[in-house]
Symmetry: C3
Subunit: 362 residues, 3 copies
């Protein structure tokens, strides 16, 4: 339960969220809360119908819900097909991000050749290098580093201790969370037969508008081309984006996703936590990959993809693993039985995804 | 082998560790070492019995060991059922963490409204924001950021370049390692049909006493509720704790563990490296999950759980993967053979963990 | 396409890279580019023969290629068996890392007892603690922390916001990328029956020459021994190296690799992204592990190792997972069929890797 510093009328909130008000437009609202914790000054929401039973005891001033749930709640209601979206808009209205004061904190180190808009805010102990540009309303929290020649678009916020290295471009209204690194060298190494020789990483990172990048996530600069993150992308914490990767608009990736060099991810994809992508792949638009999936081939069709085996009690797991490691043998045994019995086996050639196997016998 | 700046008598160390001394209480000890590297001024320990053979050549001044190993060592001994624990206590006594000088380094930026106990130490280039509270003996190493309104309990130490964002609570005697982020925004996004709309993250992170958080680990703040880490929890490096997660007391998690939003982990659990937990799960107390396990269902019973398949030579792996991708077909082939032979197959319905499959045919 | 600040003659570049020039040694070159983007002032390279078709339309001033591809290109050429290596050397020559000015930025906090070579560069807002040593040409970018007693060898560069904690040793010509942590405490915890007791981490991290460590990677200090990274090692971003780990010379690891405590990795290994290694293992020289592999046993022979199952459409995956979780049962069914038919099954005992299973029945 969070209480805002200000109070707004329910009618204004409904209008702001673009939802239908069924109830008293003059009710004063000063907070948001879960269904079980809400009081008369709070708005709550029902986005997951399995919590519908909580409406009976709910004390909220108003509830955001779908029309189908309206009869389970006789208080004031904000009715919409997408209660979570309406909640997001109302919570943002009640709890706006506090504006940082314009200007440069005296402890920050800002190069004389940097161009800092007078409405931008540079927090304590930041470093802004030569020729960097901070647009109107840009906000650097404490301890951020903006490299030589890098440009941050209007309203972009680096929360704290963010590093954006040289010659990168970040669009407008982005949020980059603490510890994130943008523009680190890609992992490029040539081998001279005995040792690795570093391959200079000469590309940039180019990030669109309205992108959010999570805490301690790393986005490598391109080697010769740029690494490109399109508008509206959402990256969670501790993600790795390799050099030359492109990520299409409005794709969202959960924590620990790893995208190897030169892979292209489409638009509107969702990538589950710890999903891993090999390099040089092409992933179509509207692909949805579940958590911990291992993607070693291009995915050319929209749709859902998965791998990995859910945890079992360790004793059962051990048995199955032992079997897995003799799976090829098991297939041969079945084939022998089929031969003995004279049973024909039609190879089902429709299955994909085995392309990296030299063994297509079935 | 490490040599302490001070020397202590063996009898004092035995008393400090609460173990039985068999030998000379006046022996001077000034270091700790492995069995093979120890000299006469060192204490060594035998915690893993497979190293017992090293006792024959060991030159340590004293060895911490179990009674059962006493006859393999004729020097001074510290006898205990848990040699590793006794070692931890003795090493801590010989090598206490150096105390940082009380006071605020002149290069730190501390808000006038922050409450810093006079015994606290604020290192160079730290930022402490408005209304933050640092208790007695708190130690901030170089480059830390403590956000607005955040409270750090007595004796808590942020090693270096740690970020604890606004309105969080950290208990007493915690240690947070470099690069860790506490209180970053959770990954909350509503979809308006075309793009993601950020859901404000209004909860806090609340951490108990005696918690340790590893380098570059990230702990997201709650969305409406708090993210809660109970007393005595141990988090290794590069862990992700999602919003609204709760972790019970004395649970330990190894590097790269990922806990998705709103999952509740019990007390006294151990989570192996890179184990991943889907969101909204409930994990019982005393659950032990092995490394890289993929947990997609709640685990309601204590015990050990695993998944993943150990690496094989790539050629064998390729064969088995090809077979795995036709496993459903293989089962059908076996069923055909059973039908031909008129062999009955009893479905074993006792196996769990397949709940997310629409296909329970066997 | 990147344009250098200087222009060099093709003959000089060929000599620098040690490759054969077939063409005009006086041609002026001032950039590098991909085959499709190169213009007359650029060098391009053909390292992957599947891009050979691009030579027909290529406008580059010169192309680095293998002799076998020479006839597909009638412009100036630099001919070598290893075009990628030659490209690395030429790009480095055209785009040298800008030298930072020698001296200590006035905003840095450097202990009086630190020894900073007069040719070293200490950037803004760095902290260098007591007795630390920075050799000739060392470069600390903005916001780095070098702990008490730590030594950095000649020419080593910490890019920005790097933390190297106390008493560590880094060799010559290393590059450590932003957010990396070297020397954090290992994850050592003894259990007193109720709670975890921290085991002091008294070892160091010792890093050889010419090592590169990626962004937000963490390398823990040893517990009693040292954590050791040998010459020429390459670590990508977001890697975890546990306490007491040793990594042999010229091994390269991709992002998210996790190496648990006390594991020894050989020389010249390549470790694919997100590969995980249990603790106390021994991995031979010249082992190559593919991405996301789970290594739970020592690997004593050189060669390629893999695990994990590539992603499938989720519907197929669900079916196969359900089958996997009954795999033990399936084997028993096949055995029953074999018994009915009187077919003998020879156990293939040559397969390894099942050592942790109590069940070797097949």
């Amino acid at each position: 339960m969070s209480t805002a510093v200000r109070s707004l009328r329910l009618g204004e909130l409904a209008a702001h969220a673009g939802v239908e008000l069924q109830g008293d437009p003059d009710r004063e609202i000063n907070g948001v809360a879960t269904l079980d914790a809400a009081g008369p000054g709070d708005v709550a929401f029902l986005a997951n119908r399995r919590y519908r039973g909580e409406l009976a005891e709910c004390r909220a001033g108003a509830v955001i819900l779908q029309a189908a749930d309206r009869r389970s709640w006789d208080g004031d209601a904000l009715v919409t097909a997408n209660p979570y979206l309406a909640y997001a808009r109302i919570a943002d209205r009640l709890f706006p991000t506090p504006a940082a004061p314009a200007g440069i904190h005296p402890s920050a180190v800002v190069a004389a050749s940097a161009r800092v808009d007078p409405t931008a805010s540079v927090g304590p102990l930041c470093v802004v290098e030569d020729e960097a540009e901070l647009g109107p309303g840009v906000c650097l929290g404490p301890g951020c580093v903006v490299g030589r020649g890098t440009r941050l678009g209007a309203g972009t916020r680096l929360v704290a201790r963010v590093t954006v290295l040289h010659e990168c471009v970040v669009g407008a209204r982005c949020v980059i969370h603490p510890g994130a690194i943008v523009g680190s060298d890609g992992f490029g190494n040539a081998n001279d037969g005995e040792r690795w020789v570093k391959v200079p990483q000469l590309g940039r990172v180019v990030i669109g508008d309205d992108v959010e990048i999570g805490a301690n996530t790393t986005v490598d600069r391109g080697s010769l081309r740029d690494t490109v993150i399109a508008d509206g992308v959402r990256l969670d914490n501790l993600i790795q984006v390799g050099h030359n990767v492109t990520i299409g608009a409005h794709t969202a990736a959960a924590a620990f996703v790893g995208i190897s060099g030169s892979t292209a991810i489409g638009s509107r994809c969702t990538l589950g936590g710890a999903a891993g992508f090999a390099g040089h792949l092409s992933i179509a638009d509207d692909v949805h990959v579940t958590g911990m999936a291992m993607v070693t081939h291009s995915l050319r069709e929209p749709g859902a993809y998965s791998s990995g085996i859910p945890a079992l009690p360790s004793r059962e797991w051990r048995r199955n693993v032992a079997r897995f490691q003799h799976l090829d043998e098991l297939v041969r045994r079945v084939r022998s039985l089929e031969a003995v019995l004279g049973v024909a086996h039609d190879v089902d050639a429709s299955r994909g995804g085995v392309g990296n196997s030299g063994n297509t016998d079935a």
